[in-house]
Symmetry: C2
Subunit: 93 residues, 2 copies
């Protein structure tokens, strides 16, 4: 059985790595993918969504939800700081 | 008369500069602000939205729309490339 929803965490690697991870899940039959990213990786998550949508699944994949938020993280020195997060939900049409 | 909608282009300066530009417009009575950013500045635009919303106008400003897209740009060498864009619409509640 294939999961209905897949999650891809977008970090600091090149965008194409996450495009491939997303493509793999879609080709396995996952209908909905959520890309999640924090901080500086947010720009990359948008790149991943746009590249996957336009180049790999033209007309077949749609951004169905976009959410931003703020999370509190504890850094290496033990001090707290806020970091922006994004979630980009893409669904096969 | 105050414009109903303001636009803030988020670029490479520190996020606080754009937070201030947004705050200024809201304090002048603009009801809806659209933050626009391209490429690596997308992460910063999300930071600007989150900081303005949570720290400067808690409970008074809401993200009412989030759009991503792709634009074609011509770089210094005259070659074309695609760049991701984001628009974050915030409205006073």
């Amino acid at each position: 059985m294939v999961a209905e929803e897949g999650i891809v965490f977008v970090g600091k690697k090149p965008a194409i790595n996450y495009v491939m991870a997303t493509t793999l899940q879609i080709n396995r039959g996952v209908k909905k993918i959520v890309l999640k990213a924090r901080g500086r990786s947010i720009s990359r998550a948008v790149d991943v969504a746009e590249i996957t949508r336009l180049k790999y699944f033209p007309g077949k994949l749609k951004i169905t939800d976009l959410r931003t938020g703020t999370e509190e993280i504890i850094d290496e020195n033990g001090s707290r700081r806020d970091i922006s997060v994004i979630e980009i939900e893409m669904t096969q049409v």
